[in-house]
Symmetry: none
Subunit: 195 residues, 4 copies
Amino acid sequence: MADLRSDILDRARHLLVTEGYADLSMRRIARAVGCSATSIYLHFENKDALVHTLIDVGFEGLNTRLQEAAEAHVDPAGRLEALARAYVAFGRENPEYYEVMFQLHPQRMARYPVEAYRRARRNLELLEAAIVDGTAAGAFSAPAPEVTAHVMWASMHGVVSLLVAQRVDVRIDADALVEAAVRHVVDGVRAGVAV
Amino acid sequence: MADLRSDILDRARHLLVTEGYADLSMRRIARAVGCSATSIYLHFENKDALVHTLIDVGFEGLNTRLQEAAEAHVDPAGRLEALARAYVAFGRENPEYYEVMFQLHPQRMARYPVEAYRRARRNLELLEAAIVDGTAAGAFSAPAPEVTAHVMWASMHGVVSLLVAQRVDVRIDADALVEAAVRHVVDGVRAGVAV
Amino acid sequence: MADLRSDILDRARHLLVTEGYADLSMRRIARAVGCSATSIYLHFENKDALVHTLIDVGFEGLNTRLQEAAEAHVDPAGRLEALARAYVAFGRENPEYYEVMFQLHPQRMARYPVEAYRRARRNLELLEAAIVDGTAAGAFSAPAPEVTAHVMWASMHGVVSLLVAQRVDVRIDADALVEAAVRHVVDGVRAGVAV
Amino acid sequence: MADLRSDILDRARHLLVTEGYADLSMRRIARAVGCSATSIYLHFENKDALVHTLIDVGFEGLNTRLQEAAEAHVDPAGRLEALARAYVAFGRENPEYYEVMFQLHPQRMARYPVEAYRRARRNLELLEAAIVDGTAAGAFSAPAPEVTAHVMWASMHGVVSLLVAQRVDVRIDADALVEAAVRHVVDGVRAGVAV
DNA sequence: GATGAATGAGCGTTCATTCAT
DNA sequence: AATGAATGAACGCTCATTCAT
């Protein structure tokens, strides 16, 4: 009630998570909010703008989540693991949201404001910082931390993607897969040292 | 011109990567091909069938590619690495296929025939076989090879996904990222032994 | 112009009799009304709802007509005859309504609300009441008044149907046919007594 | 097999009876017959022509049926009753067929060949003949036999129509209704004498 | 700040029909 | 006598968006 704009975003997010992107229409959002479809245009230039805002909010949420995970651990290895877990957890808890955040077609993202991209990048920087810290502390050996961060991200993203798209064999337990992936990723970064 | 059916598939595949699945319509395909929308129905029962064919052909191609990679290497470690490289290469070279094959939400492919799913699984089995062979030969230590195969797959899939969706930071060289990811993945499997 | 909703109903009703139900489409209605097809959906949930409304309004009109006829006569025989005449008159004057009301196949009106059926039945009850009254007064002898009411209805419906569908031989005067049918029907009910 | 044209008519009639007019398409007929849709056009100018032929055949069948009923009875009253029963029976046994024969929209019938109308009229003539015979024999009194025949027809048609369109109250037994209607109709003609 | 009415474009699909072979 | 390929028109319906109020 307080703020129509927030209401719209909240409901849109909820619709996205529960019904999926394909069924996210201005009318449906309006119906859920309890206002007219026209009113949405008073707060968002068009559907693209609304979705972009939604994505922004999503990255904001992911960021908060990762930040919390990072702050809970001082030692870099523990921090890295916590970050990986937090990332996967976020994706699994918000599958449709995650899909839009990371798989929305590039063309649809064309007009996505640049500053928003920066926000998205902040997540990576948390990973990178942990890697750099770990390397400084002698726990890891990552000569190109930004690449290593990307590799980690890719692994986590792959796990979430497959799970969200329900592509994982039914005989594989999702939690076990996540556990193994997290182990694999963290050990991978540590492995450099061993050698 | 020669074969309308192939033309339709080609154009549809192209449209898919340039415009995205949400904007893939029978009419658009027809316009791109230069025939009437009705004509498509002479070759495909409906839109679902067309997309499923696309997916099938994609998996066929990926399978061929992986099989070739597997057959070129006898030693399991080399084979595993070759498989990883082949997988990523296929995804990067055929982003159009990759999108339908792995990112199309199951909900949208409701009636995808079961036998086709089996074909998709065959790819994973190649990975798994290499892991099992390597474990038998003492080169790897993977107590749950099917989970390990999934972890590897997820990592490769993550890399391809991010690259295809153009989500990777522009300052990161794509080839370097792939190289690091492949290393990370293969070393990850080998690492088990060290421990 | 005044009221788009009424306009739509009017035009739809007209189209129905001139073109037939099979050719009644939202687009045709829109074209006839002079609005976009989309606009119809602002006033009716879908085509079914539109047709149902048409039927409802039709039954409302028929009911009014029959009620008036019934109230104008105290003696049952006169009332029965008046009802028969009113029924036929309504059908001949509103062929457009009549078609949807009675000739639309139930399969095509799948979701016709039950309460509307009840309204349709009210007409029959007027007939039945007259028959029961006449029997009580000794003017008729109808052991199963609800069946007799149906028989009367069927006769009247047959006359209207044939006339509306233009199936009656051109050499037969429509008024004479109606006259004979009414006579036949009313006498038929009375006949029971004579025997 | 013998004759494609007859095959088409047979299958079309069957489709009409089992699936309904709305679902009667050239393609479906072709599929049922086992030939190409194009082939139908070698035997019928277009769908209208095919349907008209179908109607013709229908009237032929009804005629045969009525003729048999007429020939089985010498006394006019019995003949009239048999005719009424035969008519209703035909309609109830071929509901969709009946619908097309008698309720196809006038516009759709526009190009229905005149000579075919004559065939349709022959049925009425059987009724009329029985009435004339009965009047000559002193059993009936029908000053305008062609009108009386129409009245009878209308009654029978009304019964069939209501039954076929499933408009009869579920609490009314269909057979009882038919019985009462036949009685009513035949007695109606006889009643003239009494007066 | 908010709305109801309205619309053009588009969707997947089916249809009767034509034409070259 | 028969066909496969092809098509334009139409269907019911949903969508994002605009505009006058």
